[in-house]
């Protein structure tokens, strides 16, 4: 995919390689790099995967690998968890006991 100068993009960079990481961390974390993602406006035309330069909202110039154009928020409420439904029903029944209300 082609991205154009001025597009709003997200870039990725490895900040610390595994061997550069601090000593006091669990093994699983020590085995992977410290990674960073930053968004900004692309300073030049490029393709996804290219090393690019962006200008962030605060005017910083940052270099990294282009990962996404118009990065999207994709998180959500997820799949429904039906157990939640039971909580209100149970509690309303307890409150109602002895009240003579339906």
């Amino acid at each position: 995919m082609k991205a154009k100068k001025g597009d709003w993009v997200q870039i990725h960079e490895v900040v610390l390689q595994p061997h550069e990481r601090t000593a006091n961390i669990p093994e699983d974390t020590k085995n992977v790099p410290l990674e960073m993602w930053v968004k900004g406006f692309l300073n030049h035309d490029a393709n996804i995967g290219d090393t690019v330069e962006i200008t962030t909202l605060t005017g910083r110039v940052v270099k990294g690998k282009l990962v996404e154009v118009n990065p999207t928020y994709t998180y959500g409420f997820g799949e429904f968890v039906p157990e939640i439904l039971q909580i209100g029903i149970t509690l309303r029944n307890i409150l109602k006991e002895g009240d003579g209300r339906e």
Binding site: R21, T29, M36, G76, G78, E79, I84
Partner: protein, 473 residues
């Protein structure tokens, strides 16, 4: 000449970077080998309560409603022995501009940054504080950068953190997203050095003094509504600022008999710096992974002397389970018609359990709520947990193991506030002081400081020092 940006080089410049970015010379408050003059630091570098009230009211922060939770109180009374069931009130902090009590902290830090002429502010946080800093910076036309621990090594993130990232961006801030690891601090220092912006630390005197209005308002609102001070205020405890600021505000209001209890979600067994564990927890703040280490070593924060010192103020400390907090979050929506974010309801969960043990004429105040919405919602968090292989079911919350299951109480009577032995934390804090300052003897001044900093007395401190083989000279 460009500066060396290697991990070691940047960390070695820490003190120099911090001094520029916070504008406080902490060394003037040092008084002993361990001791420092906490009250002098708060007085000379912070703002008075009246100044803070003025700053906050000018940006729409504070003066949030105190709401009586009548149905939850009624429920507690139905489940408790006769004569038990304290009245439960909640301070609806979600009504602040960015949706949490963190606006109180950010409002003072950002005001101070503007006053000192900084062009922007930086905060290292994956929590609500990011949105609060972004919001306050927007109001004052300052730039804001938020450094977040966001993803595991598969680029998978908690919906709660991803929502906080969106909110910061939608309030005009730049967000630097990182994978798991404490080296976030290194990136934070790099950004401070590169930009010359203000460090809007959660742990500066400004950040803590900003919360004092919360404790003060609780006392005033209780006097107005029920004609007396609350018996207990329950505070969700993570980094310690919420406890510290609220307790100091209560003291400034003269509510000296009000007890301050802390509450955290029990995440014992999960390592906070583990790439694997990162997405196996369902709370990203208000949990024991922050609560315990920040109580036993507050000066681990991003400033040399943290203004957040929870052991100074806590009367009791409790943990609750993840499943219990999700349950109470749903109960708050269903019985009170108030839908709020789960992390903020940690203290409500403890308060509900404690209310069942307290007398009917007593009053327990929950001092915060936080905003909710997609991502920051118990449905998002439970769904994400189930997708990551966490077993979710009804049962006895005592059997919950963080990272393996989430147990929703099969009966509301099973909701418990499990007490943490504060003396154990106090001993651990004193030991950390000795270890971290590498001292083999201490002064009388240090003993007095440690007694104040642990809310104990000289005898207690001396007995701990004796066990540690540390002499007093």
């Amino acid at each position: 000449m460009s500066k060396d940006l290697s991990y070691q080089a940047v960390m070695a410049r820490k003190n120099e970077i911090m001094k520029k970015a916070v504008g406080i010379d902490y060394s003037v408050f040092e008084t002993g080998r361990i001791a420092f003059d906490y009250e002098r630091m708060m007085r000379e570098t912070g703002y008075s309560l009246q100044e803070i009230q003025r700053i906050q009211s000018s940006v729409g922060v504070g003066n949030t409603p105190l709401i009586e939770l009548k149905n939850l109180t009624k429920l507690a009374r139905k489940l408790a022995p006769k004569g038990k069931g304290a009245r439960i009130f909640i301070k609806d902090e979600a009504c602040n501009p960015s949706g949490s009590f963190k606006d109180r902290r950010a409002s003072v830090s950002v005001y101070h940054a503007e006053k000192l002429g900084f062009k922007g502010v930086v905060a290292a946080t994956s929590g609500n504080y990011g949105a609060a800093v972004a919001s306050q910076a927007a109001m004052r036309n300052l730039k804001a950068i938020i450094v977040q621990e966001c993803y595991d090594s598969r680029k998978i993130g908690q919906p709660e953190i991803l929502e906080k990232q969106r909110k910061c961006e939608c309030l005009g801030a730049e967000v630097i997203q990182l994978s798991v690891g404490p080296e976030l601090f290194y990136m934070f220092l790099r950004v401070l050095e590169e930009t010359g912006y203000f460090n809007a630390s959660l742990y500066s005197p400004f950040g803590i003094a900003g919360v004092e209005t919360l404790g003060y308002e609780i006392a005033m609102q209780c006097r107005e509504k029920i004609g007396k001070d609350p018996d207990v205020v329950v505070v969700t405890h993570a980094g310690g600022g919420n406890v510290t600021g609220t307790a100091r505000g209560l003291i400034k209001a003269g509510a000296l008999d009000t007890k301050v209890y802390g509450a955290s979600v029990d995440l014992s067994g999960l390592h906070m710096a583990s790439d694997y564990d990162f997405n196996r927890k369902s709370f990203t703040t208000g949990h024991t992974g922050f609560g315990i280490p920040f109580a036993t070593w507050p000066d681990r924060s991003d400033v040399p002397r943290s203004a957040a010192r929870p052991l100074r103020y806590l009367d009791r400390y409790f943990t609750v389970k993840q499943g219990e907090v999700f349950y109470i979050t749903e109960a708050l929506a269903q019985l009170e018609g108030i839908e709020r974010g789960p992390a903020g309801n940690t203290s409500l969960t403890a308060a509900f359990a404690l209310a069942m043990e307290m007398d009917e004429d007593q009053v327990i105040v929950v001092q915060e709520t936080e905003y909710t919405g997609v991502g920051k919602h118990h449905l998002s968090q439970l769904s994400f947990a189930r997708k990551n292989g966490i077993d979710i079911r009804f049962g006895n919350p005592d059997e919950e193991v963080a990272g393996k299951n989430i147990i929703l109480p099969e009966d509301p009577r099973l909701i418990k506030a499990r007490e943490v032995d504060l003396n154990k934390l106090r001993r651990s804090y004193i030991k950390n002081c000795i270890d971290n300052y590498k001292v083999d003897y201490v002064t009388l001044e240090d003993v007095e400081f440690l007694a104040e900093d642990t809310k104990t007395d000289k005898e207690f401190v001396l007995s701990v020092l004796e066990q540690l083989n540390v002499k007093v000279e």
